[in-house]
């Protein structure tokens, strides 16, 4: 197997990502590796769980018309998942490339829409929303990296998901407060009552975050 995995395109914190051809398709292989610092029981449990979550949640997204790479194959033994390769730039790359205001607005709208469908139609929380986990492919926004995703009905879980994204935005892209607001606005417009509840909870979660620092 190892020599057919192709070229490593990213060595992440918990997975190696390869680009290769699989059954004639342009393919990404994401191979998770064991972490020696984790208790073996915990490590095994997390790795298996995340492989399963990733393929299940992607399938669930696709059922609801949310753009995600198609899963071609899951190799539990090899701790690998084979995914459709998505041509394009991550939102992080776009943001780093000094985008025009119009580009920013377009991307914000797409992000808000995608997240609202994912939360309120598919009933999913992504669990690791960052700008590197979104790829702009033409005029479609693809969400990737669903290893920490799960199904939930709680507005609180979804609010924390948005909170994670907000913090990723503000820490990675200074002065992106306006953009994040636009994302939330698009989220609001694309969701009905359940979306409102999430946004309301988000305010609570944000307050908690600010209040939390009791002492150092």
């Amino acid at each position: 197997m190892s020599n057919t995995k192709g070229e490593v395109i990213k060595q992440g914190a918990e997975a190696r990502v390869y680009r290769t051809t699989f059954l004639g398709q342009d393919t990404i292989i994401k191979e998770r590796f064991s972490k020696s610092y984790r208790h073996p029981v915990l490590d095994e449990r997390l790795t298996t769980k995340r492989l399963n979550q990733e393929s299940r949640c992607i399938a669930r997204c696709q059922k609801h018309g949310i753009h995600t790479p198609t899963v071609y194959f899951v190799d539990l033994k090899g701790k690998s998942i084979y995914l459709e390769f998505i041509e394009g730039k991550t939102v992080k790359e776009i943001m780093r490339g000094q985008p025009s205001q119009q580009e920013v607005d377009t991307v914000s709208l797409l992000i808000g829409k995608a997240l609202s469908s994912m939360h309120n139609e598919a009933g999913l929380v992504h669990g690791d929303l960052t700008t590197s986990n979104m790829i702009l492919h033409g005029d479609q926004l693809f969400l990737i990296d669903f290893g920490l995703a799960y199904v939930t009905t709680l507005a609180e879980d979804k609010a924390v998901d948005l909170y994670v994204l907000e913090r990723a935005f503000l820490s990675t892209h200074p002065n992106s407060e306006e953009m994040f607001k636009k994302i939330l606005e698009a989220y609001r417009q694309n969701s009905k009552k359940s979306g409102e509840a999430v946004l309301k909870k988000l305010e609570e979660v944000q307050m908690r975050g600010r209040k939390k620092l009791a002492f150092g």
Partner: protein, 330 residues
């Protein structure tokens, strides 16, 4: 040569330190308020402890450093974050001495003190910082004049989680609950599965705490596990979560050094837990101390923060790390 005296008392330690601009630590005196087994430290009692000890520690620091107050260039104190009462009890003394000795007084963010102290002691230049203490759990990285928070706990701090668990199983507070849990964890045999809650670069500990509390009451009574097993499993789970999010932040920021600071950072097991380039300090520096505030004040002082008007030398219980303009770094 610049000499600064630092005053720290944001939680249950009161510390006075004196540092020099080459990073040399001339004195670092400290005492810790340890409540009885099963109790946490209350603001009122902690403030009293600080008031009772602070003057003695100031004198001792001057003695150890072998200097007179006239040789100092500035004083620095912890503005926050922290517990109101203890913070104020220390700030009052710092303000008074700055007036008496006619020295400028610099307010320091406690977290920045930890970070800058960690950097100077270990020589880590631009690390991802894992900040783990009783009140704080954050993954931080520097960019554009701020220490930016990439990940943090969305509920309670790691130290708080450990301390509260220590009270449940009646672990002594002396020298610290965390230290005692670490020792007990070494004797743990059985790994008990606990919730593992990581959300991106954020973590959550409150669910783990309530889950282990339940397990403790049940299984300890039934004799199916020991306190040591629980300490071991809790530590393994919490630390794996911290390291995972730290690694994620490192990958995200493209950095390969980690600096661990804060009281929980002196846990040797946590320091051993990962490969890569890890920087950590021992308990003299990762536990709250006066030298770190002195050093935080010194880097501010030498980068141009000359004098803060007396009316602005206040305290605040909430003071986020990313609020501080880091004008001493490029």
């Amino acid at each position: 040569m610049v000499l600064v005296m630092g005053f720290e008392g944001s939680a249950n330690k009161i510390g006075i330190g004196i540092v020099r601009d080459d990073g040399h630590i001339l004195a670092n005196e400290r005492t810790t308020y340890c409540p009885k087994v099963g109790e946490g430290f209350l603001p009122k009692d902690t403030a009293k402890h600080h008031r009772d000890n602070i003057l003695r520690l100031v004198q001792k620091a001057l003695q150890t450093a072998n200097i007179t107050p006239s040789e100092l260039d500035a004083l620095a104190y912890t503005k926050g974050p922290g517990m109101g009462g203890p913070l104020r009890s220390v700030a009052v003394v710092a303000r008074t001495l700055s007036q008496l000795w006619k020295k400028p007084l610099i307010p320091v963010n406690h977290c920045i003190g930890h970070i800058e102290m960690g950097r100077i002691v270990t020589g880590a230049d631009d690390p991802v910082i894992l900040y783990v203490s009783g009140g704080n759990t954050q993954v931080i990285s520097y960019s554009l004049q701020r220490y930016r928070i990439f990940g943090e706990t969305i509920d309670i701090a790691i130290g708080n989680c450990l301390d509260r668990f220590a009270r449940v199983i009646q672990v002594p507070n002396d020298p610290s609950p965390g230290y005692n849990i670490e020792q007990m964890a070494k004797k743990g045999q059985q790994f008990i599965e606990l919730p593992y809650v990581v959300k991106g670069m954020d973590v959550s500990f409150s669910g783990i705490l309530s889950s282990i509390e339940k397990i403790a009451t049940q299984q300890l009574a039934e004799g199916t596990c020991t306190k040591e097993d629980l300490c071991y499993s809790l530590q393994e789970t919490l630390f794996a979560m911290l390291i995972e999010t730290t690694e994620r932040a490192m990958a995200h920021c493209g950095q390969n050094e980690v600096l661990i600071v804060g009281g929980v950072g002196c846990n040797v097991h946590l320091q051993e837990e990962r490969g890569g380039k890890l920087f950590a300090t021992d308990d003299r520096y990762c536990i709250d101390n006066g030298a770190m505030i002195a050093w935080g004040g010194l880097v501010m002082f030498t980068s141009g923060v000359k004098e803060v008007p007396l009316s602005e030398t206040t305290c605040t219980q909430r003071y986020r790390t990313d609020e501080v303009l880091v004008q001493w770094r490029t």
